[in-house]
């Protein structure tokens, strides 16, 4: 079962959102689909999921349904740890 990484950004994106979206793309390239599923929610399309998770601000990263990052743009080490906790074998 792949680890699920859901990334939330506002519209228009703030600098933190831009950074997190770019990071999501890098993870999607680095890991095959059978290991990691990356979903991006931007702007109004994000509102339904955003409210479902009861998030309070963006950027945000949710791993396997658990909020790991909210309101800041993390570095990759922090995201690696969050994904590792979500069962992803980091390399």
């Amino acid at each position: 079962m792949p680890t699920l990484m859901e990334v939330f950004s506002g519209d228009p994106p703030c600098p933190g959102c831009v950074a997190v979206l770019a990071m999501a793309d890098r993870y999607a390239e680095r890991y095959p689909a059978e290991e990691l599923t990356v979903k991006k929610y931007v702007g109004r399309d994000a509102l339904e999921k955003y409210e479902a998770y009861n998030l309070s601000c963006v950027p945000a990263i949710v791993v396997n349904g658990v909020i790991k990052i909210e309101g800041i743009a993390p570095d990759e080490g922090t995201v690696d740890n969050a994904l590792r906790e979500g069962g992803l074998w980091i390399r």
């Binding site: 939330f8 702007g43 994000a46 601000c57």
Partner: protein
């Protein structure tokens, strides 16, 4: 009545939330005289204002801050001048 609109991203980023809360705190100093409304920067109204950065605070149709969270005292001064103080 002073009309304050806080334009931000949807969903809101941390700064957009702070700007909204700051506007509400400043408005609370002028009970019954100031209304604060959260608006989407990508709405027709937001686009019409040609905002360059979010959050943006608009007081009675005039952009008073953009791309930052203003101090409460700064907003109070704006409200006072709008009230003719």
């Amino acid at each position: 009545m002073i009309e304050v609109k806080v334009f931000g991203s949807e969903p809101p980023c941390a700064k957009c939330r702070q700007a909204e809360e700051q506007a509400k705190r400043a408005a609370a100093k002028f009970p019954g005289q100031v209304t604060v409304e959260k608006c989407a920067a990508q709405s027709a109204e937001g686009l019409g204002l040609v905002l360059h950065m979010t959050p943006a605070i608009v007081v009675n149709g005039r952009v008073v801050s953009e791309g930052r969270v203003p101090e409460e005292s700064e907003l109070e001064r704006v409200f006072l001048s709008e009230l003719g103080g």
